[in-house]
């Protein structure tokens, strides 16, 4: 049976990775290898109050930073958009904290760290900060997380939403967990996807297919050399195509499955 194809335009893009603290920086790096001098070590999302910016978990900081940037680039009010937050592991450092504290002193668990341990913590902080009462979801699909998150965002557009915010991110693992579930550095990407055609903006057409001979995952490129080891690197073939005038990206979508993304600019 043939796969159903879904289409949406990319109204805005957000990006934050090691050494590349914006989509502009990522595009410049893709174009000529240039790097930002003294890039920040972690994002400082303006959506949060100054004291919260420092205290927020890394995953929340990177997710809100790229989400805000994508909305700004799209010229969309963050409060108006339904959102899909996609992360392979959520905040691995909080998982490490919870597990090690449970061994040593379970009755001292921090209530704030506990509520920040939910997979939808970034989605929660985003909706609170943006004043967004629109639906928000938080998903994971292990190494297929980005493809499945993109598919869900495209499905939301196909089933009635005019525009959807997709936010993907992963962070650094710590403690014994880091050897079994490795992830290094901070990486985030966001897309505002809209149903209408937008002149001059990329239009995505996606479909889920069987992987096979001659139909494999697009290999990682330049962005992956800087984001090496982060669990969200499977998103990079799409961002590399979007930044470098590519016309397709094949994303890992689960065992034996590929999400084929065609990119056209009108």
């Amino acid at each position: 049976m043939t796969s159903t194809m879904l289409a949406a335009s990319v109204a805005g893009i957000g990006y934050w990775g090691n050494g590349l603290p914006s989509w502009e920086a990522a595009r410049a790096y893709l174009a000529d290898g240039s790097l930002v001098p003294d890039p920040p070590r972690r994002p400082s999302p303006q959506l949060l109050a100054p004291n919260e910016r420092r205290r927020a978990p890394e995953t929340v900081a990177v997710a809100l930073e790229v989400a805000m940037a994508a909305c700004a680039a799209a010229g969309r009010d963050p409060a108006s958009l339904p959102s899909v937050f996609a992360s392979t592991h959520g905040d691995l450092s909080i998982t490490d904290y919870m597990c090690s504290t449970l061994v040593d002193e379970p009755r001292t668990i921090s209530p704030t760290r506990f509520h920040n341990s939910v997979h939808n913590a970034a989605a929660g902080y985003w909706t609170i900060g943006a004043g967004a009462m629109a639906p928000a979801t938080a998903i994971s699909a292990f190494d297929a997380t980005f493809a499945q998150g993109l598919l869900e965002a495209m499905v939301q557009v196909a089933s009635g939403s005019d525009a959807v915010l997709l936010v993907a991110y992963d962070s650094t693992a710590s403690g014994p967990l880091a050897l079994t579930s490795p992830s290094q550095g901070l990486l985030g990407g966001a897309l505002v996807l809209v149903r209408e055609h937008l002149p001059g903006r990329p239009r995505l057409v996606v479909g889920l297919h069987e992987a096979g001979q001659g139909n494999g995952v697009t290999p990682a490129g330049a962005l992956a050399t800087l984001a090496k080891g982060n669990a969200m690197t499977p998103m990079l073939p799409l961002f590399e195509a979007l930044g470098g005038a590519g016309t397709r990206a094949h994303l890992f979508a689960g065992p034996g499955r590929i999400l084929e993304v065609g990119i056209a600019t009108h």
């Binding site: 379970p106 209530p111 699909a141 499945q148 689960g254």
Partner: protein
Amino acid sequence: MPAVAIRAYTATTAVGRGNGALAEALRTRRGGLRRNDFGPDRLDCWIGRVDGLEEHALPAQLARWECRNNRLAWMALQQDGVLQAVAQVRERHGAERVAVVMGTSTASIGASEEAYTRLVGEPGQQRFAPDLDRPIVHTPHSLGDFVRAATDLRGPCITVATACSSSAKVFAQAARLIQSGVVDAALVGGVDTLCGSVLFGFNALQLVSPDPCRPFDQTRVGLSLGEAGGFAVLERPGQDDTGLQLRGYGESSDAHHMSAPHPEGLGARLAMGDALARAGIQPEQLDYLNLHGTATPANDSIEAAAVAAMFGPGLHASSTKGWTGHTLGAAGIVESVIALLALEHGELPGILNSSRPDPACGPQIRFDNARRRIDYAMNNSFGFGGNNASLVFGRA
């Protein structure tokens, strides 16, 4: 929205395995909570624990996914013809055209917790023991990936983890996947199991009751935690379809606080209103509402006020958490199953352990069971991060 057919459904909770045990417990008002006997350090509270998980290892071919949460998923999958219904939709549409959409709050973090209790190696270089050095059980998608492997389905496979609304949202996501034509059917569900993180985490938030929880009672002091698993097989209906259906869903965000509900219940009202609108029914047409009703002081008075503002006195609304405990990411599927049982058998559960209604309770909040044929039932599930979902079920 286009209705979605429900071909099979099931829930396994502290009251027993499958729908028969659940329906019987609801009808006879026999709760499943027991004094906390979970883990080495036992908080003074009551829990909804599923018996038999310790003795039921996963089959050898699924050993990679071995953990308490996936054991409960496996146990729940065997009940009420779910696997047979999965086989039928796979046969009709092909494995590529059937999605797996699972909801969980903590997935199998119990396995990660266990790994930290028996690390191997020198201090500073400690790692997980070989039997727990399996990445798939230390990540939120443990559940979705296990169910995919256990059913051989090849459509979109995703785990929704929005805390306690997770396995209500799976119905909405599956409905969209079917509506947009990506798939023709979906296996949805949710599983959450007891673990240190949630027991001590909710304790840190001072939300755990020392006694069995008392939803909507003016003396309630908090929730009782539980574990549960459940599934439903959804399919695009045919021309002359009969049987139970998902008729509407509504999702919203409170945009208020990470662990406290919006004081006026605005997010809850948005979700319920959108679910009714998608179902194309008026509030007075709704017969039964399974409330989120966690028995925390804040949730129940706010939810009761929101219900009183939206619905007439004819609605029978209740929380069933006195039977099962708050099963977190599984609450959506468990309480959807209870709503479906009410549609199928006409048994409307009341509320267990409660006797003195909170002042915010309108005439909708019913402590006693009732029996009557109904046409529409709703389920509310609200989670941390202000994440809300409401579902409307009916029949063709």
